[in-house]
Symmetry: C2
Subunit: 337 residues, 2 copies
């Protein structure tokens, strides 16, 4: 099959060497003999082989790569964030790559993982890791409401974009109270965003005279955590008629708990999540949830990053986008008791 | 707060410059005046500042980074693959990063995105992109059953690890036929893995005399595709009592379709997925599915990659791991008609 553009295989064949050896020459390795190098260089010349665009960027010291650090691949809240980032960064020729804190390497600071890939920019979509400061060779933008760690990190010195978690949690409280729920559970979790949601939800619901029973769990907001917290909460407080979960994953855990306990959702129990993940939007789950504007947060974060990459050295910017409530099938009016 | 190890902030303070300027010096930028450079270098010397481990690897021309290319972040089948890769690569000091074909950049070959991050190794966990050959500066391992594209790519020249999709699909067929189902639907999709599963499932079920009606959809295996395919299939063939979907996402779509049509799962309709994703394992969904040995595939792929990184130049290896059936709550004996 003949193609217009010569490939690395064509170069190898012409030079009478292996493809791996051509790669080594292209990378400037010193493991190549002078004779081989000359043969490869002659073949590149003869064939008019052009290194790829990526190789050209590399030679110019740019990676055109933006790295996104997340907590957990199993929680797909970050999918919309990536779409928003991509919409702004794609036309500028940047590519996105995702690292989770766990994959960063056992016992290694996740930020070292980001550094090692020479990203031109970094989006932190998880609680801010310690020793963040050391990574600041590349511009960093924080996406989402994040707990600030200490130990050398100074998150307030960074650009940040988040949805307004306090407003979002208040929308959830107003929705449930508006449906007549007076005894409401909250499934708490430990992240910065989860804590902001809990505080605002409890305050907003109590201000209307509703009873709120919040769990004291402070670990990661996973489906399993939601299942176990909800089983305990609903068993100990069978008079609860509505639950607000720290995020969609925990809400999906709560849906599983309700099924186990034979509690009909939404007839007997309303459940609200947070994030409007792809899971909440599935036809099967159809979860009432707060949309955290992930797409908009991604677009804004990308714009701030581009401004820094263009050499902007202005004051740090903090932007807040408004969340919205998405009512689906897991909430309904409270039954009269 | 005093810490044993000096940070980039300490260097900046000592040199009387901004942290960004220290970063520029560390990166060897030519945008720094000679005077500033001297001041920063003196501060580094005085404080005994050590660049991080990542910076040290970079200086040695290693990134210690392994990039994983996937299709779609919303389908969490790759989460177990990453866990398996991490178990082997973590102790060796490698970090993992994930790129999806979409994030690779509009109109760009995803492989260019991988190249640009200078990964030491690449795991392809999606159908093999065109022009793969050009990326072969780093060792590549294919994870999963993949369609081989043409246009210069020669996937058979790469190491590959996959679960045996043909055996997995046969296990699904035997399970459904064993439960007495005689009229079975299959929700097809377009990937290499989906096609292998479809062929084997249809052959195995038909060999027992069962009727199989397969859809002719050939796009991505998403939840929405599963929903629409299943709505059409179950409406046109109301006598179907069991459905095997190309993957878990499509099976979740089929569960939504069954609910819409008022068909009780599993009493009236059994549904089997493929992959044993975190979603299939949620308490709420509890999907009967084929476990694709993602963890084991990840471990094997990591071992093959390490062998290549150690300079192995042996014949290409293809490994196949055995899948297993995981029976949960979405399958049951066929009702007598």
């Amino acid at each position: 099959m003949s193609t217009a553009r010569p490939t690395i295989y064509d170069v190898a064949r012409r030079a009478g060497v292996s493809k791996s050896l051509v790669s080594l020459v292209l990378r400037g390795s010193d493991r190549v003999s002078a004779a081989s190098r000359t043969a490869v260089e002659a073949a590149i010349q003869d064939l008019g082989y052009r290194p790829s665009r990526a190789a050209t960027d590399l030679a110019a010291g740019r990676t055109k790569l933006v790295a996104v650090l997340i907590d957990d691949y199993a929680n797909p809240w970050f999918v919309e964030l990536l779409r928003g980032l991509g919409q702004v960064l794609d036309p500028e020729g940047y590519r996105l790559t995702v690292v989770d804190s766990a994959s960063a390497g056992h016992g290694l600071d996740p930020v070292e993982g980001l550094l090692s890939m020479r990203a031109d920019g970094v989006v932190l979509a998880c609680d801010v890791p310690a020793r963040l400061a050391e990574a600041a060779a590349s511009p960093i933008v924080i996406a989402g409401t994040r707990a600030e760690t200490v130990d050398g990190a100074d998150a307030s010195a960074l650009d940040a974009v988040a949805n307004d978690d306090r407003t979002g949690a208040r929308l959830a409280a107003e929705h449930l109270v508006g449906l007549g729920h007076r005894r409401i559970g909250h499934l708490a979790a430990g992240s910065g965003a989860a804590r902001a949601r809990a505080e605002s939800f409890v305050a907003a619901a109590r201000s209307t005279g509703a009873d709120v029973i919040a769990t004291d769990y402070s670990g990661p907001a996973t489906e399993a955590a939601g299942l176990h917290s909800a089983l305990k909460l609903l068993t100990e407080h069978p008079d609860i008629t509505a639950v607000f979960a720290a995020n969609d994953m925990m809400a999906i855990g709560a849906l599983g708990a309700a099924r186990d306990l034979g509690i009909d959702v939404p007839a007997e129990l309303s459940i609200v999540g947070y994030d409007n993940t792809p899971l909440a939007r599935t036809h099967l789950i159809g979860l009432t949830t707060v949309d955290d504007s992930g797409f908009g947060v991604g677009r804004e974060a990308a714009r701030l990053l581009l401004a820094r990459l263009a050499g902007g050295d202005a004051e740090n910017v903090t932007r807040t986008l408004q969340p919205s409530l998405v009512v689906r099938g897991t909430t309904a009016p409270a039954r009269r008791s």
